[in-house]
């Protein structure tokens, strides 16, 4: 029962987060994590909100917790890459994004962050490759969003 309750609390937290009501979102995630601390999704979503609010060190810790619970959690690896980028730890960010992309090659955001970090490290050719892949995926997502809009 607690697992289901925790999932429901996470769902509510995400609804708040999507409306940029981060304080409320964090409160729901914390209630969920208190009920079920082994749920990697709770840690991951709280990390996402921490990033939006500039709490990058806490975000990184939450991503690591999520990954420790599920090594194949690609979104958590991607978010870890984002937190590390914000902390200007570019080398480590590239490693985290590469791991995310090994698990899910269609993560446009991970390709982009990898590109940005490689650019910062002066590895321009690799950066351009990552940007290219990111753009390809972003265009597909954009076209899907357009189709949805037309179908609405």
């Amino acid at each position: 029962m607690t697992v289901k309750e925790a999932e429901e609390l996470i769902r509510k937290g995400r609804a708040y987060a999507s409306r940029t009501k981060y304080k409320e979102a964090i409160a729901y995630y914390e209630r969920a994590l208190a009920l079920d601390p082994d749920n990697p999704s709770g840690w991951y979503h709280r990390a996402a909100v921490f990033i939006e609010t500039g709490r990058n060190t806490e975000a990184l810790a939450d991503c690591e917790r999520a990954i420790s619970l599920n090594q194949n959690y690609s979104d958590a690896w991607s978010k870890k890459g984002h937190a590390l980028y914000n902390l200007e730890r570019y080398e480590e960010s590239v490693v985290a994004c590469t791991r995310a992309l090994a698990l899910n090659g269609n993560d446009a955001s991970a390709w982009y962050i990898k590109g940005v970090c490689l650019d910062e490290l002066g590895r321009n050719i690799e950066a351009q490759e990552a940007y290219g892949k990111s753009l390809e995926l972003e265009i597909i997502l954009d076209m899907e969003a357009e189709k949805k809009k037309i179908g609405r």
Binding site: S109, V116, E138, I139, D142
Partner: protein, 340 residues
């Protein structure tokens, strides 16, 4: 600049440079409801403390970077105008609304006379206001589009592929604008609307350079005009279609555009003087468009606040204009004519 989102290095530097030149702050905000072109809410237009660039939430990578770059260039132009002289936009007054609506009405009457199925008066009244507003929006936005795009293209080679995708999409969306009104609005305005977008896309196709952006390649209704001999075009029924006429008018607008924009050194270093010069050229080019489209008394150059106040009073202006045109034939014109 305050943001927690990743930004590619050239864009991050460009945003910082924009802030330094204008001595202002730029906030970048993702918004699920944001316009696909992004929105610039700036201190030179609104009474606010810092500039905000909004973009759709699903743009997380280079598409977001391109939108930011384009708005930064526009911000530089606005800021340079405000700091070096005055930043003015095409606004309207009660008198100019009357001139515009009256002209559209005269043209509509000419078109309606040839039609078997006449437009109901309520629809006609609605259309007058919508068309006028539409041209006011276009004349404030369109001339700056080729300018900002050309500058981004020359200064940001890293995002050229993104720019190409984006412009192809933008070209299609803009050409679709007004399509549902093609049979309702006077031909002249449909043609002028398409001609402006045609000229912009043709200019960008040459600037980038990218044939894919040419309307005769990118826009389905114009594809038939590609690779046609002049003689062939003049002797077929195509000459009577609105799309062919859009191409003809568009070619003239393109000539006007090139006359002004060829004076700009797109690779010059950024400075207030440089962007002020671009602003002045943009204003002269806009005036030339307005004159070419015979809309000289439709608009007035005023500070942005004047336009905001005018927009708040638009219903009143439109009602007054309709009263002058139709006299007592209509009693409550405002009931239907404010949507636009």
């Amino acid at each position: 600049m305050k943001t927690e989102m990743p930004l590619s290095k050239p864009i991050r530097l460009f945003v910082s440079q924009t802030e330094n030149i204008l001595d202002t702050e730029i906030a970048l905000l993702r918004n699920p409801e944001a316009d696909p072109n992004g929105t610039l809410v700036d201190v030179y237009t609104y009474n606010i403390e810092k500039n905000v660039i909004l973009f759709p939430a699903h743009y997380t990578g280079l598409l977001k970077d391109f939108i930011i770059a384009r708005h930064c260039v526009h911000l530089l132009i606005k800021g340079a105008a405000a700091k070096k002289s005055r930043y003015l936009v095409c606004s309207f007054t009660g008198g100019s609304v009357y001139h515009g609506i009256h002209q559209i009405y005269i043209d509509a009457l000419k078109d309606e006379a040839k039609k078997e199925k006449k437009l109901p008066v309520t629809k006609l009244i609605q259309m007058l206001s919508i068309l006028y507003t539409n041209f006011n929006d276009d004349i404030n936005e369109l001339p700056w589009n080729p300018i900002t795009n050309a500058r981004v293209y020359h200064r940001m080679p890293q995002i050229r592929k993104t720019q190409l995708y984006y412009l192809m999409k933008e070209g299609k969306v803009d050409m679709d604008d007004m399509m549902e009104y093609e049979d309702i609005i006077p031909r002249r305005y449909f043609v002028l609307n398409k001609a402006m977008f045609y000229a912009r896309d043709q200019y960008l196709a040459k600037t980038l350079p990218a044939d894919e952006l040419m309307p005769v390649i990118n826009i389905p209704q114009m594809k038939k005009f590609n690779h046609l001999e002049v003689k062939e075009m003049l002797t077929t029924r195509w000459t009577h279609t609105s799309w062919y006429q859009s191409k003809v008018f568009g070619d003239t607008i393109l000539e006007i555009m090139e006359k002004y924009l060829q004076k700009i050194d797109w690779n010059a270093e950024s400075s207030l003087d440089y962007f002020h010069e671009i602003y002045q050229l943009g204003v002269r080019m806009t005036n030339h468009f307005i004159s070419y489209m015979s809309m000289k008394d439709w608009f007035v150059w005023e500070p942005p606040k004047h336009l905001q106040d005018a927009q708040a009073r638009k219903t009143e202006y439109v009602d007054e204009a309709l009263k002058k045109i139709f006299g007592d034939l209509i009693e409550e014109p405002s009931a239907d004519n404010t949507q636009g």
